[in-house]
């Protein structure tokens, strides 16, 4: 089977059209970045994030109000992933405290932050139950459950830890929450003896704590700087490598194409309102590697054709090289795009921004290796030919 027959498309003829389209896209990207900004995740913004899973979809306004009443600042509450609104991400700013106040400082703030958020979110009747010594089976960790079963329910140590392990294993596979006490009773491994105590002394709070993150401002700044450094460093590395393997103008053309890809993808990222986290930086670096890969394959062909046919008509040679490579370019982009699409739609909320960058980036990168990198080569040649002519005229 073949999608693409032997083609003879005049890619270079309309190069000014394509360069203009790219210029417009780049401007639009800058507008999107300036207008909407790039949303920063905790890693880059600093602060604390807690991911909470509710049994019933909660009212986000109520949550915001509770947090505000509890004295938190910089509050951002959003739903997280495709969970019918049951899973929410809570972002709060870190309180500023010097390091001088007896070792507490920033450490103290982060130490019980998650607990303080949990306490702030609890409805009064749950707080009362906890104060009365009842065990919240959606919050308690394995060690706590085991200890209570041993100390209060009178189970022996092995039995208590077995039951606790069974309960936490069940939670692990069910998004961390029990919806009814009946589910607790049904958990394989919960013995009659344990259930007798649990049914009396345990209850189900309205939510479970799924994860937490805490990044001090100095660290987030460092991560931002390092992210920029890594992307710039990778671009520089590419330039040097292609320069060595080909010629300087090839390297330059490839890098300009890469910058083009990066800006447009970043623009799309800002436009979609995605949130930048560490894997997103990884995705951008991968994009840089992937997109240049495509460009190089075309350049390799150009080099080969020049070796065979001489540099005479560069524009035609480039056209020929792109046409010869077209099916390969499209097919590899397509296969990679398949897997990235799978990640985007099935990979879960954590990996989604990562997949999004590659999803857009592969399209832009494929386009740029055909329509941007190669015309730039011609532009470079023309520039120097023009200079050469001028120099000759002067002499």
């Amino acid at each position: 089977m073949r999608i693409i027959r032997e083609t003879n498309i005049d890619f270079m003829g309309k190069r000014y059209l394509w360069l203009s389209i790219s210029a417009v896209l780049i401007v639009l990207s800058f507008v999107a970045i300036a207008q909407k900004g790039i949303r920063k995740g905790v890693e880059f913004a600093g602060g604390a994030e807690v991911i909470v899973r509710y049994v019933q979809p909660p009212d986000l306004e109520v949550i915001r109000k509770k947090l505000k009443d509890a004295g938190f600042t910089g509050i951002a509450v959003t739903t997280f992933g495709e969970t019918e609104g049951k899973e929410i991400s809570i972002r709060v700013a870190l309180e500023r405290k010097g390091e001088s106040d007896g070792g507490s400082g920033a450490a103290e703030t982060g130490k019980d932050l998650a607990q303080r958020i949990v306490e702030a979110l609890r409805p009064p009747e749950v707080t009362r139950k906890v104060a009365d010594g009842l065990l919240d089976l959606n919050i308690a960790d394995e060690v706590t459950i085991a200890r209570r079963l041993q100390d209060d329910a009178g189970l022996d140590e092995v039995a208590a830890s077995d039951v606790a392990a069974a309960i936490t294993a069940w939670r692990k596979e069910h998004q961390g929450v029990f919806e009814s006490m009946e589910q607790v009773r049904q958990v394989p491994g919960v013995t009659e003896e344990a259930w007798a105590w649990l049914s009396e002394h345990a209850f189900l709070g309205p939510f479970a704590l799924r994860g937490q993150e805490f990044i001090e401002a100095s660290v987030s700044k460092e991560m931002r700087d390092k992210a920029y450094g890594a992307i710039l460093g990778a671009l520089g590395g590419m330039l040097i490598y292609i320069w060595i393997r080909f010629q300087f103008q090839y390297g330059l053309a490839a890098i300009l194409a890469l910058v083009h890809d990066t800006i447009i993808t970043l623009g799309a990222f800002a436009f979609a309102g995605m949130e930048a986290n560490l894997p997103v930086v990884a995705a951008f670096l991968t994009l840089v590697g992937y997109s240049v890969n495509d460009t190089i394959v075309v350049f390799d062909r150009i080099r080969e054709n020049i070796a065979q046919k001489g540099e005479g008509k560069l524009t035609e040679l480039i056209n020929l090289s792109i046409n010869q490579n077209l099916s390969r370019t499209l097919i590899t982009s397509l296969t990679t795009w398949f897997v990235v699409a799978a990640l985007l739609f099935l990979g879960g909320p954590v990996i989604r921004p990562f997949a999004f960058v590659l999803f857009i980036g592969i399209i832009v990168g494929t386009y740029s290796s055909i329509y941007i990198a190669s015309p730039l080569l011609v532009a470079w040649r023309n520039l120097f030919r023009a200079k050469g002519k001028k120099a000759a005229a002067r002499a």
């Binding site: 073949r2 032997e6 991911i51 899973r53 390091e99 070792g103 400082g105 920033a106 450490a107 982060g110 130490k111 936490t168 939670r171 998004q175 961390g176 479970a208 994860g211 937490q212 993150e213 805490f214 001090e216 100095s218 660290v219 992210a227 890594a230 992307i231 460093g233 990778a234 590419m238 490598y241 292609i242 393997r245 560490l278 894997p279 930086v281 990884a282 670096l285 991968t286 590697g289 992937y290 890969n293 190089i296 394959v297 390799d300 099916s327 390969r328 097919i331 590899t332 296969t335 990679t336 897997v339 799978a342 990640l343 099935l346 990979g347 879960g348 990996i351 990562f354 997949a355 590659l358």
Partner: protein
């Protein structure tokens, strides 16, 4: 043997190695790979050691020695204290006409320090090299202590390492399976500098000096704190509210009779009235010293100072040799944790958490599920596409791809690399990229066939000519991965490792393995058509 037989043997050997490496082991069900904290669940902490503390402690010692020396030399009213700047000691109370003399006296013993006269004071500055050494030592000690504490706490497969080399003041602590990082952080951050000291008694035997405020105590001392004495808060925990508050202040000798390093053991216990205490036992060497000291000081108060705060202030009633206890309204868990940190040793400086990432087990589980589902779907899509598009050669590519995945898993397992969620992304991206090399070759073969070459000629040309493009393209991706590895911590590093291994493996599978398969299928037969 024919060359192709050799090649086949090499491939089978590699395959056998890969299957062996990637075979699931107990505790590592996922192709024998170690799972990252973001998949398994657990806590990732980065702690900073406030090394200024250690420098300050060292300066404190120097200040005491400086004051003692000058007093011996006849400067009776001299005082030495730690200055504002790091590594600075300031000497005051020297008559203006004797400043130069005092400076000369100090220069003998503190020859490496920069000593200058500023107004009516002498300022001594510790050399930078010594400060660097103290900082480095503090971080190394902290690393050791943190390791001990984690061991005592009992976490399976922890990863504890110093970040940033010899200059670095950060310690990375990765704790798989820890769900409640608050408690661990508290344990790690407690400095646990335990000291048994003596309350200050004036030369005339009066004392102790205690009062509701610091100023009150200073007033009792006659407006000035004697050298070698400091005023410390006595903290108490309100049993009802659980809040800490200062009960009183007390003048205490600076030098300690017993420190944490003299402890043989520490355990939580029930005290006389059923309250929770931490009881400790001293090493034999310290026990003798302690016995003599307590015998000589019966009736005096011996405050137990923990991290610069008095936790209890018992009166010495009898000679004590090996056993003692710390009282002070603990919960049982707090007593357990205090005993743990006392056993594991003190931190040379305060430690604060600057970065924390905790993934609960259920979130990690969801990530694995979603990651695997996405990877499987992506993989199947690529395989189906390849077989439809390239028919026979597509099957060849599929074999190469499957082997590629197996090799990546095996290499990661044998290197002890960690699979993270972005790593799963890298895994699946490898599939998309590995197929690139196959596509390059296959397209080239088709082109050569169209140009009228024989099957065998087209194969040779296709593999030969595609090689330079494959190598160049992959090396640039490796460059990107290298920067990624430099940049990232944890999950992102996992991605960079997975991607790099995937690229290297894909060069082997697409070039070597695919070629061998073609050779095997075609053999010596004169083939007219190639399914491609």
């Amino acid at each position: 043997m024919k060359p192709v037989t050799w090649k086949l043997l090499i491939i089978l050997a590699v395959l056998a190695w890969a299957v062996f490496q990637a075979w699931p082991r107990p505790g590592r069900p996922f192709l024998n790979m170690r799972l990252g904290l973001d998949l398994k669940g657990g806590s990732h902490l980065v702690m900073r050691v406030l090394t200024d503390d250690a420098v300050k402690a060292e300066c404190d010692l120097a200040a005491t020695r400086i004051a003692t020396k000058l007093r011996k030399e006849g400067f009776t009213r001299v005082r030495a204290s730690v200055g504002e700047r790091v590594g600075e000691v300031i000497v005051t109370g020297i008559p203006a006409d004797r400043l130069a003399e005092a400076k000369a006296r100090l220069e003998d013993e503190w020859s490496t320090w920069a000593i200058s006269i500023e107004g009516d004071r002498i300022v001594l500055q510790m050399p930078q090299s010594e400060i660097a050494t103290i900082r480095d030592r503090a971080v190394r000690q902290a690393l050791n202590t943190i390791r001990n504490r984690i061991d005592e706490f009992g976490v399976a497969e922890p990863n504890i390492q110093r970040l940033g080399g010899k200059e670095g003041d950060r310690i990375l602590v990765q704790l798989p399976g820890v769900e409640d990082p608050a408690r661990v952080k508290k344990i790690l951050q407690t400095q646990a500098r335990l000291e048994l000291r003596l309350a200050y008694y004036a030369p005339d035997g009066s004392g102790p000096f205690r009062g509701l405020t610091k100023e009150d105590v200073i007033a009792q001392l006659g407006g000035e704190v004697p050298p070698g004495v400091e005023i410390l808060p006595y903290e108490e925990i309100d049993k009802k509210t659980g809040e800490r508050k200062i009960r009183e202040w007390m003048a205490v000798e600076k030098s300690a009779i017993i420190t944490g390093s003299d402890l043989q053991d520490a355990r939580p216990n029930r005290g006389q009235w059923g309250d929770v205490v931490v009881s400790f036992e001293l090493r034999v060497s310290a026990a003798e010293r302690f016995a003599r000291f307590t015998r000589e000081n019966i009736g005096h108060i011996m405050p137990i100072v923990l991290d610069g705060k008095i936790r209890s202030a018992p009166v010495i009633r009898a000679e004590i040799s090996t056993n003692g206890q710390i009282e002070g309204s603990f919960t049982y868990e707090e007593a357990e944790d205090l005993a743990l940190v006392l056993r594991a040793g003190a931190l040379p400086a305060r430690v604060v958490t600057i970065e924390e990432r905790t993934v609960g087990p259920s979130l990690g589980w969801d990530s694995i599920q979603a990651g695997i589902r996405a990877a499987a779907l992506g993989f199947i899509l690529v395989l189906v596409f390849m077989v439809i598009y390239y028919k026979g050669a597509g099957i060849n590519a599929v074999v190469a791809l499957v082997m590629n995945l197996l090799l990546v898993a095996a290499a990661m397992a044998s290197l002890g690399a960690t699979l993270t969620l972005p790593g799963i992304g890298g895994f699946i991206l490898t599939v998309g990229m590995a197929v690139d090399a196959n596509v390059l070759i296959f397209e080239r073969i088709r082109e050569e066939l169209r140009a009228g070459r024989t099957v065998r000629g087209a194969l040779d040309q296709g593999f030969g000519k595609a090689l330079s493009a494959i190598i160049d393209a992959n090396i640039t991706t490796l460059i990107a991965a290298l920067f990624l590895f430099q940049y990232g911590t944890g999950p992102v590093r996992g991605f960079a490792v997975t991607l790099s291994i995937g690229i290297l493996a894909s060069m082997f599978t697409a070039i070597f393995v695919s070629r061998t398969i073609f050779d095997l299928v075609i053999g010596d037969r004169p083939v007219q058509r190639l399914s491609i």
